[in-house]
């Protein structure tokens, strides 16, 4: 088969991995970021942690697998983005280290519970923001040279469009954490989550509109994408569904709505990028699924691995979520 078919398949698979990651780790990162608002004492903090403790590391594997798949399928995109965003990614790594250990440390280290609770929140909030900033950058274009090396600096990454995408992603993740809290936890924590949900929806709507406006101004060429507009409509519908479900006290539906919003976000991101993986300020240098790709042989091997492995992963992930169904006790 033609290499281009496999390049397209891997564009979709990596998008899928990132999408599932954002849905699943979205509620982990979101509820952890919201913990200072949701939980007022150690007992409530324990409930917040208990709601994600059995599943968070399985959820993070979606990110690890997405990263490894990008490396394997499109090594040139992986190399350019990871080395180009060096300092920003180091911040993400420092944060992810803290968030990975903070629950165990919080649980056992009674003298420093406050420190570990803060580490848990900051370690989740920072990646939740920076993932979107990174995505915003590869969508709006980064400066690179002919050898695919990034020529900007740390502040290049903080332009308005990436920042707005970062805030949009953050607000979607917070919303996901909020609907998760209402779904999984009873009592005061759920009440507080319930009361901030509409505020988060408003913030999210503001950033979404800002993102659309900036896209119209800065990236007029991607406005012709019909799939992108379908994504935007699905996104708006999903968020309205979250609002209505919350109003009628149907927490599962609210969680479904905010999860579906991520599907829409990734459809929009994919539509904005395709066939590029990294858009650049000089479009002839764009890093695409063709010029960044591994050989067709490697892509075939990888496709076999994914075809065998992923259905099994999805099946047992479903099973284990069923095991942990129900409210945190």
């Amino acid at each position: 088969m033609d290499a281009n078919i496999f390049q397209n398949i891997w564009f979709i698979i990596i998008g899928f991995l990132l999408m599932v990651y954002s849905i699943l780790d979205g509620f982990d990162l979101g509820i952890a970021s919201l913990m200072p608002v949701l939980a007022k004492d150690e007992n409530e903090q324990k409930k917040v942690m208990d709601s994600i403790w059995p599943v968070w590391d399985g959820n993070e594997v979606w990110l690890i697998t997405a990263g490894a798949s990008l490396f394997a399928a499109f090594p040139f995109a992986y190399a350019t983005v990871f080395s180009g965003f060096y300092l920003a990614l180091m911040l993400v790594l420092f944060a992810l280290i803290f968030r990975a250990v903070s629950m165990e440390f919080w649980y056992y280290d009674e003298k420093r519970k406050k420190i570990w609770a803060t580490a848990f929140t900051v370690g989740s909030l920072l990646p939740a923001l920076l993932f979107g900033v990174a995505l915003g950058n590869v969508i709006c274009g980064i400066p690179i040279d002919i050898n695919m090396n990034f020529t900007g600096n740390f502040f290049t990454l903080l332009r308005p469009f990436p920042l707005v995408i970062g805030l949009l992603g953050l607000s979607a993740i917070l919303l996901q954490g909020c609907t998760w809290a209402i779904h999984k936890i009873e009592g005061e924590v759920a009440k507080r989550a319930h009361s901030i949900l509409n505020k988060l929806l408003i913030a999210n709507a503001v950033f979404f509109i800002l993102a659309i406006v900036l896209t119209i101004i800065l990236l007029p060429d991607i406005l012709s994408s019909i799939i992108g507009w379908i994504g935007a409509i699905v996104y708006s519908v999903s968020m309205s569904y979250v609002y209505l479900s919350n109003k009628h006290k149907r927490p599962v539906n609210a969680l479904r709505g905010s999860s579906f919003a991520f599907v829409a976000l990734w459809i929009m991101a994919g539509a904005a990028l395709y066939p590029n993986l990294v858009r650049t300020t000089f479009s002839a240098y764009n890093i695409t699924i063709v010029n960044a790709s591994s050989t067709v042989y490697t892509l075939k091997i990888m496709s076999i691995i994914a075809l065998i492995g992923m259905p099994i992963v999805i099946a047992y992930t479903f099973y284990v979520y069923k095991v942990f169904k129900g409210k945190v006790s």
């Binding site: 590391d57 690890i64 490894a68 090594p75 190399a79 990871f82 990975a100």
Partner: protein, 438 residues
């Protein structure tokens, strides 16, 4: 310091700290599987208590493994972008396969072990213990495949300035994969079993949890004894492979300066690279030739057979290799003593030996670290043996100041992680085996 050196130190630090946790995980998941199986078969609560105790420790070890592991995956792109471009066609696939086949399995079912004893049937719980065991070992296999390909690359061709995969199985099962996998798995089982035996010994010293402690001690020491002896076999096969396929590496491990027939094995000495001479050396004549080629007069290549710019430094690999072998020999000795004490039924009275076991807890971790330093520094100056030099693998655009900055922060964070790990581990151990996990 230049950016290559800084990046090497940072990657070495990240991998070195990370390696503490997966090696413990390998041994702990084996113990959990054994005890869950015993509990399933007998329904005796003591096995459940012991297993829960190890699962609790596994939860901590695993969280640290995840925290330190994700850094490595990012590092190939952040610090070694030229490496990623040059060999991404080959090197990325095993990492992706590790995620898909192994790491998901391990992580998802560890959640069941930690939190769902009362939510699933005994059968499913036992199956989960098996899947965590299986996942962690399979994960090790894929990582060893990736790392072994850097040592003894195979199944590829150089096309258009990059290495491309031509034969997946040849690359995955390259000449050093299987023996290195065996060597690392056995090392993990040695680490985990001595860790468990040391904790049990401490309980006996303190006269705490005697029933559990005796049970753990017996089980752990049987594993430890077998594995510490088996490690000689895997170590030997590995050395033969290195001598034949990476001869300059073995010449460096042994500080063998000149190519010679009937090459001796260096037991200990002080090699001085600039003088190409080893001082105060104790060596066994002809042993290296005998071990590597089963012929005491066979020719073994010395460092003089290779160009200077393709040779690793001597001192660090030499000492790392010898410390590893020294510790490995000590483990075999401890293993044999354990079995003698066990068979003569003196194990539960041999107070002196309990102290030995307790103080030996960190030694396998030290042996693992030195073994790994020997393997990786011994591969220099290559990132991928004879394909890509480390100096050409680094990210061109990341300035040394940025790497220095991240290195300082990583050092501080890792120091904190290790201190906290030891502190919490001590706390869990002091609390003792209980049937509840959290």
């Amino acid at each position: 310091m230049d950016v290559v050196m800084l990046s090497r130190i940072q990657f070495g630090l990240a991998a070195g700290v990370h390696f503490i946790f997966p090696s413990l995980t390998l041994g702990l998941t084996l113990l959990v599987l054994i005890y869950e199986y015993k509990f399933y078969k007998t329904d005796d609560d003591i096995f459940k208590t012991i297993s829960s105790f190890f699962i609790k420790i596994l939860g901590l070890v695993f969280a640290l493994g995840v925290a330190t592991g994700i850094v490595l995956e990012f590092s190939f792109g952040t610090n070694w972008a030229e490496y990623s471009r040059m060999v991404g066609d080959i090197f990325g696939a095993p990492l992706a396969a590790e995620g898909i086949f192994a790491f998901f399995l391990e992580s998802v079912f560890l959640g069941v072990l930690l939190f769902a004893r009362n939510r699933v049937s005994k059968k499913v719980y036992l199956l989960s213990a098996f899947l965590v065991f299986f996942g962690s070992h399979l994960s090790g296999l894929w990582i060893i495949i990736a790392n072994s390909w850097m040592q003894t690359p195979a199944g590829f061709a150089i096309e258009g300035g990059r290495a491309v995969l031509t034969n997946f199985w040849a690359a995955a099962l390259n000449p050093s994969t299987l023996v290195r996998f065996a060597h690392v798995i056995i090392a993990g089982w040695i680490t985990g079993s001595l860790f468990a035996a040391g904790i049990a010994a401490w309980y006996l010293i303190k006269r705490l949890h005697t029933n559990e402690a005796q049970n753990i001690l017996k089980t752990a020491l049987i594993i430890f004894c077998i594995m510490s002896l088996a490690q000689f076999a895997s170590g030997h096969i590995h050395s033969v492979q290195v001598t034949r396929i990476q001869p300059e590496k073995m010449a460096t491990f042994e500080a063998l300066w000149q190519t010679q027939q009937g090459a001796p094995m260096s037991i200990i000495g002080i090699p001085v690279e600039s003088q190409k001479k080893t001082y105060y050396e104790i060596k066994i004549p002809k042993l290296l030739s005998l071990l590597a080629y089963f012929d005491p007069n066979a020719e073994v290549k010395g460092r003089d057979a290779f160009p200077d710019d393709e040779l690793p430094p001597v001192v660090l690999p030499y000492f790392s290799y010898h410390i590893m072998i020294g510790l490995g020999s000590l483990f075999a000795l401890i293993g044999i003593i354990s079995i003698v004490l066990l068979l003569t039924k003196k194990l539960f009275n041999a107070r002196w030996f309990w102290y030995v076991l307790f103080f030996a807890i960190p030694l396998p971790i030290i042996a693992n670290e030195f073994g790994w330093i020997a393997a990786e520094v011994g591969r220099q100056p290559w990132a991928v043996y004879k394909v890509l030099k480390t100096a050409d693998a680094v990210s061109i655009i990341v300035p040394a100041s940025h790497v220095a900055f991240s290195l300082v922060i990583f050092s501080l964070i890792y120091l904190m992680l290790i201190v906290m790990f030891i502190m919490i581990l001590t706390k869990i151990i002091k609390k003792g085996p209980q049937s509840e996990i959290y």
